[in-house]
Symmetry: D2
Subunit: 358 residues, 4 copies
């Protein structure tokens, strides 16, 4: 018997209760220390994600795909009780990408996603896990911060995609660097902050944007991370002297996406990361297509990430942890009993997490 946060996909709902889950045997037994809550979780709970799915023969779905866990028991000599690990979200099917550990690029949709599609998630007091699908956190001081591994791994993959695409032309400036290249990240949530920090690591002039001003706290964080911010609902705010070379969208909102598409520079790259199936439609016209063609612009959707990206995300977190206030991205900590957190986003939330245990 475990305590678990349950929903009934795709209908939705949220319940924290005891349940007996039949599980496959695996070489690890894990308990979550922290689990993160993101838009996907809230979408499942409010019933708006129609691709969410209970596991086969189950009439509920355990939520949770962002987590850091502690090893409770291990039959694998490489892991011992007390070790910290982050489990992967996606589990492979049989397509060529899944066969080489790239289920993030699954070619046929037959992968599974813990806490989302067809596989119970990590928001339960204990579960079995296959050690090939976890990455290790070797620094105990990173216990809390490493709950950001999962959102950050998306960013690591996103930049892998950007690097691949950028090879189609000389994307850097005449001095080989990105010193005079501009990046705008649409959104001001967890992924937006993490994409912004990474863009800045790559050397882009980087700004986050949203359709409203930010609180004092968020503006301070923007500044701590050496980023810029502008409110795109007003005209005066755009901070750069030239057009945008890289846009990263975390909103999924068609009108916003089109607005920034029209501001893109020659050879510009637009990464679509955010999704919002219920966002209002917007109108794309012949000149938009012309703009994409005449400027050799590339738009790339990017979802999830592979184990290699989790591992790099852990390395980034480890370094950033010592020099940047990344822990401030975690703006709220809640108990699993407090299921309201799935229904209403706290004002000024960047990342809310659930603290498990004891």
């Amino acid at each position: 018997m475990v305590h678990a946060l349950l929903t009934n996909a795709p209908g939705g709902g949220i319940d924290y209760r005891d349940v007996i889950i039949e599980e496959e045997e695996h070489d690890l037994v894990l308990s979550p220390l922290y689990t993160g809550i993101c838009g996907t979780d809230r979408g499942i709970v409010n019933g708006s994600l129609n691709f969410a799915k209970n596991p086969e023969k189950s009439d509920y779905l355990v939520l949770g795909h962002e987590s850091v866990c502690v090893v409770r028991d291990s039959s694998n000599s490489q892991f011992k009780e007390g070790d910290l690990v982050v489990p992967l979200v996606r589990r492979p099917g049989n397509c060529p990408n899944c066969l080489i550990g790239r289920q993030d690029n699954c070619s046929d949709g037959n992968k599974k996603e813990a806490g989302v599609t067809g596989k119970h998630g990590f928001m339960r007091s204990r579960f079995n896990e296959d050690s090939q699908f976890v990455v290790r956190i070797d620094d105990p001081y990173m216990e809390k911060i490493s709950v950001l591994t999962e959102p950050l791994k998306n960013v690591v993959k996103g930049f892998e995609v950007i690097e691949t695409i950028s090879k189609r032309s000389v994307y850097a400036g005449a001095d080989s660097s990105f010193t005079n290249k501009n990046c705008v990240v649409i959104g001001t949530g967890t992924e937006a902050f993490l994409y912004g920090i990474m863009s800045s690591e790559y050397g882009f002039n980087t700004a986050l944007t949203n359709r409203h001003p930010l609180s004092r706290e968020k503006m301070d964080l923007i500044s701590d991370f050496s980023l810029n911010f502008f409110d795109y609902s007003t005209d005066i705010a755009y901070p750069f002297k030239s057009e945008i070379d890289l846009v990263i969208d975390t909103s999924g909102d068609p009108a916003t996406v089109l607005k920034f598409l029209r501001l893109m520079n020659y050879n510009g790259i637009f990464l679509f990361f955010g999704t919002n199936g219920k966002a209002p439609a917007s109108s794309i016209n012949g000149n938009d297509i012309d703009h994409i063609v005449e400027r050799n612009i590339t738009i790339a959707g990017s979802v999830d990430a592979a184990k290699v990206h989790y591992i790099r995300a852990v390395k980034y977190l480890k370094r950033w942890f010592k020099s940047l206030p990344v822990e401030s991205i975690i703006t709220g900590e809640y108990r699993p009993e407090y299921t309201e957190i799935f229904k209403k986003k706290p004002e000024d939330e960047i990342k809310s997490v659930i603290k498990w245990g004891e």
Copy 2:
């Protein structure tokens, strides 16, 4: 004094008359043998391309960017009278891409395009040309067919872009090939046929599509090139058993583009090539963005091509010429005096060309 086909950009109009053009000295003097007419030429003539531009200090623009020419005079020992050449459309500015011969990827818009933006084109009885901006046709039997070099070079570059982007995942099938991968080319004009032939060379199952049925003649060509065709305005026609892995658009029409975007497979690549600034707008919604994200789809605009692509286009034409009826793509031949050809597209045209000379 030369005979030339003139317009007044961006207002439009068409006139065939004698004119004295002050030119820079160059090492070659060329005369066109054939010049091709495409949608861009007609767009300039009817005044719908607002980026078209007369050369500085000129109150007219000589049309023409697709041509095969004969050398009339040469001060360069590598070329002699009678040699056949195809001149390049774009001339470089000073951005990093232009500096390495990749003005097709110009980073700042400061390149020029013969017959389109700021530089007189090739539809005049004689002009000076810099030998570094021509490619040679070494087979005299290719005199006529080589007018397709310019449209084909776009296709060669387009597939270079596709190859670069495809590296973001395992794009081929589990047997390493494209035998079970599907390509749809939207359109049935010159570029659509050439993209279709190339897609088939790469091994994709390939279909052209349009919103109406094709004439007997075009259907025969489709068959000669081992391609498929379907009329997308009816429902029954789609020839493949699975979704589309590669879509190449030559229409520039938002509604059509969105229709096929929604049919794209995981890891699909959509090449935007066609432009039509006057096409009616269409509505893109949250689910479309979701589809792009969740399936790791990439959309890439691609315009023009570099000298290396012209050279490869000549090689392809040379090989295809002996085994495929590529000359049938040229469906009409006109005299320069017949300026009506710029105003009205002949029924069933694939490529109309102007025959110069004598």
Copy 3:
């Protein structure tokens, strides 16, 4: 019972006799029409290839990895009696490369090679074959020429490797093309000619080289393929004005390889394709390493190829067949009874083939 050309690997020997071979069931039954003989076959026969291996539990090995076959029987609706096919040499193991059809890049050596390591080859009057490991020849006129598919597929992969590596810098000239780039292919056998033709397709100035002059017939072929030749044992012969940007070795001879390494240009790429385990050693010194480092030179070994390369090889052969005398590469045709052909290379051989049948 089949007639087969047998050896006993790795000891060697050659015998043409009747033998009963227990085979797995597969959906195709094939008979060879032509099989090619290469240095590997002769190496196995004279016992100099110590990696050659009989199939498990067999005390002989059927030779033959280059072939074109006719379908004798098929339980697969996609193939019918009389169809022409070329079977693949390598069969996958379980490494990540093998799992995606890239057994040419096998990560652990657990693939098998027909006629070479652990799997009977194609020099037998009839054998079962799995249709997923054949490529189709759809033009009956290509019956003989398509025995070159196997050697040519190596070239297609070789250039894939070259293209990947060339992305580490601007490899093309300032005009984006290879017009002023030089390629030397070491050797004058089948692979050397095929690499030379392909290099010329890519636009390199291309020369084949050997340590002796060539016969009239070979020199005529060199000229037919628009290639150059020089005898590197004399000093006067090098045909280019600058250093070499691409060297492709088909000799496997250390002294020759080092000689040309020292002539390589900045950013040069050296493809190692030929092998000769018994070649005399040669001396590499500190300046050679310095030359590789200071000039950013890359040396890449390349072996075998994947199904996608076989398919492209067929396309190339089909085009070349109509415009180049590629059939002249086949310099001799023998009966399977004539086993001497495995022991002594005919003077002036490029490719010797065995004609099967009746």
Copy 4:
């Protein structure tokens, strides 16, 4: 008049004296705070680098290509007195790579190198510098450590080369990561340590190696950086269970390079970074070439790096500085007067630096 460390290239010698140097005007005046000494400096001083060259019309060469400097005067509003900067070593010529800021990949050898070929170096009390050839150090605490920017930028480029080459096959393991991939770095000097740290960042199991045991101090550093070490002159030491997937050589020694080449795994990558023109020759045989071919091994020379790599090197230093004892790589600090440091390498040196100023 400035104090400078002078040699007379390529003959050699070392002198610290006052000298009047005619300089071009530039927007910055710099003074070094620290300059690093490497094998190249010692090679120039002892006259063994025959490519070293005085500037045109100069009968001496100011040494020094590794430095961190302070801005003394600036006519550029982006820089002010007191700012810390690292100047670039190479200055571009006119080849395609130089034109896009990639003089590290210079196509024709017409670039210049400060302190090495044709341009005075940074070991002088004051010099003019063009701001486009410096990168900024924005953290005053990095004053000393940032003298490692120059050696580290080579590592950043080296891994860019490795990433490009690794695309020729599936280079990662079946789980997409490098967890089971082994890297050996040959050497135990500055570059070896920096390559080792970076290899570990990428996730390789990493070992440094040399032909002798290391001191207690160096072994402690090895351990601090989570690296392994083995003495390859003894047989028992190799720490991995499988062959080597990545070898990085900093020795330039042919015999050592060949030793490790023979231990390379399928699809292995061997980066040649070290040079030693005077190293004894070694013998490469047919089986070595066979090994490279049959295993699809790639060997890549890599020299210098571009501005983008300097910028990333600064970012890495900034992060590592807080979590790793990178400053311990600097094992000795000397005054410019102590010219003996150019003649004799201190026992147990990793990096010796000269402290300038006052």
